[in-house]
């Protein structure tokens, strides 16, 4: 099978964002992190466990008619730091965004500590400080390791 055939598994988009080189298995978490569930009417294509040169297997997500901002992109660093982001206009890559580790991620994860004030019925958003190898709740101090992050996504 040629590379071109592989590409066809997820068709090219005209305008939008391609999130490539995601760790295999993270595509749905990425959509959850970005709050994309299709209800906005945007076209979303997902490829999972696609063969990759860079990673043995990768996931890929294409979101039509939506250009992700730097802060949205940075949030992805907590679950898939190797991801690459291409902004597409009229089938051409017009911008490649690099993922940078943000200082904190807000309102994205639920604190795994059930006794944390952010899990009570209080008017606060969760805030996690980004550490070298994990995240830390800005309220109760609970630490979430990198490999545990996906299980605590605040999916509504």
């Amino acid at each position: 099978m040629s590379d071109a055939d592989r590409e066809l598994r997820v068709s090219k988009i005209r305008n939008g964002t391609v999130i490539d080189h995601l760790e295999a298995g993270q595509a749905l978490n990425v959509l959850a992190l970005l709050g994309i569930d299709g209800s906005g009417g945007e076209g979303v294509s997902v490829g999972m466990n696609v063969p990759s040169d860079k990673l043995a297997k990768k996931d890929i997500v294409k979101v039509e008619d939506r250009e992700l901002s730097q802060s949205e992109v940075d949030v992805l660093s907590v679950i898939s730091p190797e991801a690459t982001i291409n902004i597409i206009r009229d089938y051409e890559v017009v911008e490649k965004k690099r993922i940078e580790r943000p200082e904190s991620v807000d309102d994205v994860l639920a604190c795994p500590n059930r006794n944390c004030i952010t899990n009570a019925d209080e008017p606060v958003q969760t805030r996690f400080i980004v550490l070298e190898d994990g995240l830390r709740c800005g309220y109760c101090g609970e630490i979430v390791r990198e490999d545990e992050v996906a299980t605590h996504l605040n999916v509504s």
Binding site: N115, E122, V124, C140
Partner: protein
């Protein structure tokens, strides 16, 4: 100390701690001299959990500074019972007081509360999180009895849920203190406290038995192992007995060993120990007044000077 609020012992530098302890010592020397210091000021006591020592010593501390206190009373008789959020309660009470003291059963509650109030706020215990004013009086007691540098401390009991332990361990990283942690495996230090100790490069060792480390200790800090932390009574009884001390145990300790406990104790320190020169836990509880006076004085002083700017 240049802090607006006191939420966690992790925010305290050695200078901050020494400033509070020095002022507490000054106050301790002549408490009456501080009587008019904060006349007219009001401290709001917001206790969402039962408390005896902390509540009463804050109350006394403010009154000994010449101020007054208001108390929201028990949770059962307050608006919390009607479903009011903590954020709303604190925003309301802020309007009645010049500083607030908060105890709450959930971790991170005090930190959240600071986002809704402008007056100084002191965390008097947030769930299994932090209890920094207890730590300040612990350090005061340690400094008086064993010093704070070149000291070996054993911290024993419920290290997982014990907020006094979490605060003390963090604060001790500012000093030349070797920390030994003694607990059943199921109640060992939580990941977050371990992380902080590691980040600070603290000298830390963990044990499941006091025996091997007792002879080396200058200070033994005992905490209560709570029955409700164990799934069944038998398991609790099996474990708790190993973390109790009596005068026989203390024969293997240094003569100068200082035994501390944040209180209340149940049976982890036998009453016979009270009569020995090791026992400092009642002195420790009494130190809550001058230390909290010093802290309130400094926080109110900071708030006043900021208002004047």
């Amino acid at each position: 100390m240049r802090q607006d609020h006191l939420i966690s012992a992790t925010q305290l530098s050695r200078e901050d701690i020494e400033a509070v302890l020095d002022r507490a010592a000054e106050i301790d020397g002549d408490m009456d001299a501080w009587q008019g210091r904060h006349a007219g000021s009001v401290l709001g006591l917001c206790f969402f959990e039962p408390s005896t020592r902390t509540r009463m010593s804050f109350d006394t501390a403010m009154k000994r500074l010449g101020g007054r206190t208001i108390d929201m009373g028990s949770v059962e008789s307050s608006s919390v019972k009607k479903g009011e959020t903590l954020a709303d309660t604190m925003r309301v009470v802020e309007g009645y007081a010049d500083a607030l003291v908060l105890r709450h059963p959930l971790e991170g509650s005090a930190k959240m509360a600071t986002e809704f109030v402008d007056v100084p706020l002191v965390n008097a215990g947030d769930g299994a999180g932090q209890h920094p004013t207890q730590t300040l009086l612990d350090l005061y007691t340690m400094r008086e009895n064993a010093g704070l540098d070149d000291v070996t401390i054993g911290i024993m009991g419920d290290l997982k849920y014990g907020r006094t332990v979490h605060s003390l361990a963090a604060a001790l990283t500012n000093f030349d203190v070797r920390q030994h942690f003694i607990s059943p495996e199921s109640l060992s230090l939580p990941r977050s406290v371990r992380y902080d100790l590691h980040e600070e490069g603290a000298q830390v060792r963990e044990h499941t038995s006091l025996e091997e480390v007792l002879p080396d200790l200058d200070v033994l800090y005992v905490t209560r192992i709570q029955r409700e932390r164990f799934p069944d009574e038998n398991e609790y009884l099996k474990v708790a007995g190993e973390y109790q001390i009596d005068t026989d145990d203390l024969e293997r300790a240094k003569e100068s060993l200082t035994v501390m406990h944040p209180l209340p104790r149940v049976d982890e320190i036998a009453p016979e120990v009270d009569e020995t020169s090791h026992a400092k836990y009642f002195e420790q509880a009494h130190n809550g007044v001058p230390v909290r006076m010093a802290l309130l004085d400094m926080l109110l002083e900071n708030a006043t000077s900021e208002d004047g700017q």
